[in-house]
Symmetry: D2
Subunit: 299 residues, 4 copies
Amino acid sequence: MLVVMKPHATQEQIDAVVEKIRGMGLQAHPIPGAQRVAIGITGNKGGLDPGNFETMPGVADAIRVSQPFKLVSREVKEEDTVIDVGGVKLGGKEIAVMAGPCSVETREQILEAAHAVKAAGAKLLRGGAFKPRTSPYEFQGLAEEGLKLLALAREQTGLKVVTEAMDVENLAMVADYADVVQIGARNMQNFSLLRQLGAIKKPVLLKRGPSATIKEWLMAAEYVVSSGNYQVALCERGIRTFETMTRNTLDLNADGIIVEVHPRPDRALSDGHQSLTPSEFDGLMKQVRVIAGAVGRSL
Amino acid sequence: MLVVMKPHATQEQIDAVVEKIRGMGLQAHPIPGAQRVAIGITGNKGGLDPGNFETMPGVADAIRVSQPFKLVSREVKEEDTVIDVGGVKLGGKEIAVMAGPCSVETREQILEAAHAVKAAGAKLLRGGAFKPRTSPYEFQGLAEEGLKLLALAREQTGLKVVTEAMDVENLAMVADYADVVQIGARNMQNFSLLRQLGAIKKPVLLKRGPSATIKEWLMAAEYVVSSGNYQVALCERGIRTFETMTRNTLDLNADGIIVEVHPRPDRALSDGHQSLTPSEFDGLMKQVRVIAGAVGRSL
Amino acid sequence: MLVVMKPHATQEQIDAVVEKIRGMGLQAHPIPGAQRVAIGITGNKGGLDPGNFETMPGVADAIRVSQPFKLVSREVKEEDTVIDVGGVKLGGKEIAVMAGPCSVETREQILEAAHAVKAAGAKLLRGGAFKPRTSPYEFQGLAEEGLKLLALAREQTGLKVVTEAMDVENLAMVADYADVVQIGARNMQNFSLLRQLGAIKKPVLLKRGPSATIKEWLMAAEYVVSSGNYQVALCERGIRTFETMTRNTLDLNADGIIVEVHPRPDRALSDGHQSLTPSEFDGLMKQVRVIAGAVGRSL
Amino acid sequence: MLVVMKPHATQEQIDAVVEKIRGMGLQAHPIPGAQRVAIGITGNKGGLDPGNFETMPGVADAIRVSQPFKLVSREVKEEDTVIDVGGVKLGGKEIAVMAGPCSVETREQILEAAHAVKAAGAKLLRGGAFKPRTSPYEFQGLAEEGLKLLALAREQTGLKVVTEAMDVENLAMVADYADVVQIGARNMQNFSLLRQLGAIKKPVLLKRGPSATIKEWLMAAEYVVSSGNYQVALCERGIRTFETMTRNTLDLNADGIIVEVHPRPDRALSDGHQSLTPSEFDGLMKQVRVIAGAVGRSL
């Protein structure tokens, strides 16, 4: 059930609806929109009677949500979500570009990469301090040391920092350093982790699991949103198919891109084979700028 | 084995190599290139000794082909293949656009569609006269009547015609009317049909099977080329994955696009739900024109 | 629409229903069952009114078929289909075992294989005379010479022969020699071929395409049945997935099995790596016999 | 690198090898076998020289491990792994049967299920107290209360308990109550959790991720084994494919089975549609008993 408030509903009217919902033993999720506030209701077993809310002052409508993903559905919030990362917008007219190496490796590497992607026009710096690796014997990241280097790069360049949290243990620390907390593909259905994301005040970049359906992905976002964090950006990264000539098969339209850039890919401690050099990245940005314009966006 | 002739090898020298190959009980496939002629050898069980050919006059090199797809490999023909369809190029700098309805339905429908896609800048008209349908109870196409309507549309607009041949029985008839003969995804491994394509003098547009690997697709092209028809264009159309929200999952870069356009998609006898209207197609073409420019191509 | 006749309906009553259907410009498909005759109707665009048939003499019921596959649905024929191959049953209590080499290669090879699988308890001999191969350079089968050798093996052993038809050109010849005509996985949606199977009087073994959904497979069977051949057995052979350690992924329950057996797999011209030796096959049959008993079947 | 000790090597000789490995800054993993001890070495960047160990007293051989999964490879431990769960064997001649409801729901439900599966011949009871659910609004399990009910069922029936740990927070508690700790499919690559499994002294049942390759699954087991817990059983549960008529596609041979049994599936709080009733489970066990015998195993 979703209670849609009138455009000029007062805070008292909103509070009254929230109060009533809680009085019924249910959860209320007020979701501010550009035009109006909507209040999602969860926790009910069967359907609710819209009549409970329709006649309350300030209420425009009370509608049933037909999707299993409720708070993240278009029924609940029709307009596009735009996330503000300290002035850089995710989901707006501007194409957001996040670039940087797979892993933070050394001070020189991350600073060189940051300056290069900044020069090419990116506004967000990506780089992993905690790395989920298929093998226990591979490089697992610099941990807090890596986070500090990312913060240093931010200080020098003004780029916003996107970096991954792998578990509940380190989540608070990652959120302290990051501007956007990334949840990796393998953790997309780590529900214990997802539920803790409501406690942090930073936007979340939720990568799609390699074999997750779009519905499962939206349900994972629902875990985050229902825990209280409404700032979730979805990051498509391709799915696993029978084809082995390409590592993943990717099919989409997007509001932004995330690209691995490394000063010297041949010496990278992880994913070097799929990283661009700074100059390749610069060429890519030139093309993206023209293409964005062709489809009514900008960079 | 591939025998690469010198740039200025004479016809006599080429003939002598072909003669020698045939004398060994093998097949010779002379493949003209922009710079030189190469002669593919097939039919040998084990490896051949390059020494058999290296010392013959006009021969530059004799090299082993390491791929299971031989004649379609880059080892045999390093440069890009450009197919000339009566002046319209497939595979060159220009992005080839093939557009039109899924099926030819009526005289009015195909002529209206042809004029519309021509106006928007397409140079090839697509439309099926023979339709492979999942159900035996669905519209199966107008057969020869549909081919005649395509020929009429070509006459009025100058567009080249791309249309599908479904079986050996109707192949010669389709090839008479078509400028490019399409082989559909479900027939990609209909080897009896592929082998007959050597006998027609028209370029072939070979669609990828929905679960074919890229290697199997190249092997299907190898069937066509080894039967004597060197003009094969590959048409990616997405593969089947676990995801059901999208019908196919598509991952690629291309030299052209093929798009379904129908004057009134809501009344189409097949695939109306995925057809663009002429005006949507016109908008698409405007974007493609800019994007093509951004990547150093044109329309 | 399906018209179900009463158990003791007369031939005249059946003919009258068929006549009425044809008079409406539609196709009638009388399907004999153990208890009663049912008449499938195809060719109608919209729904038909059951009232057209319900009051006719001998008619028990007229029901709408809700599946896209009509004649092969359980709605049309509730009981299991049992196909009689000269006394050997497919689909009955007995597990049908079809065994033999991938390809017929030589007189000695096929006779040795036939005697071996007969001795182990198989009742049907499989072996290909026409082989659809991924590469045009691989062994393509002995063609009619192979069919003659299969007939000879049948003569010597009494085994029924299962062999593949690859195209319309050779279908009649294959059907002359075979007891069961196999349609291979790659031809599952070769609709031109499927439509010709109504003209042959032999049962059809329809293999599942490697990426066909079960619904598409049933629709392919519908092509055969709607063309007039009601004897269609479905052969599951695994589907293509992301996993490459197994060639196909197989998931099923069955009325029979089809197994490749070759006297000397290491010398086989095709698929030797997946063929059992006669003695391995003998061991398999011993296990299958006990397992069949455990699930209330026999061998 | 794997150092294989002689059958009668002394503890001192083993300790000396371990000491030498640690002295080189690497990790030593002594793996006891039925015939001999082997010592796996991890942590080396490049290859090691076997000469370092071959001449030490008690050493039979020092061999390079060619697989990315090292400690779980057959190279390191050739014989089958048999895990002893308080007298019940996983991986031996006997087929291990784990049965019980998806979730522990009530005292009556779990006790009734336990007595029923015990009567049918199962030796391990499964049931979830922590449930990873696709939706945040679905039943998430009884948590510690569920674990206590499982312990009570064990006390009454003597069945061993298999139950899932979802996160590091609750791992120690789950391990206290469980005889076997299950890691669910969605957590197969939750590396932070896998690394903590070395600290518990209970066997681990590691389910395959729905889109994990077999290699990735073995690498996940490697995480557990390299953290110090050698008792890992792999649980296949089918993979995700394009086919939607079956929820998962399953392809395997096994040493045991895990089956959902619920006293009243229609009232189950989770997965009722795929649970057997006690009487259906009893019928299944009768068949499994015969089939196990047919393949040289027992129940």
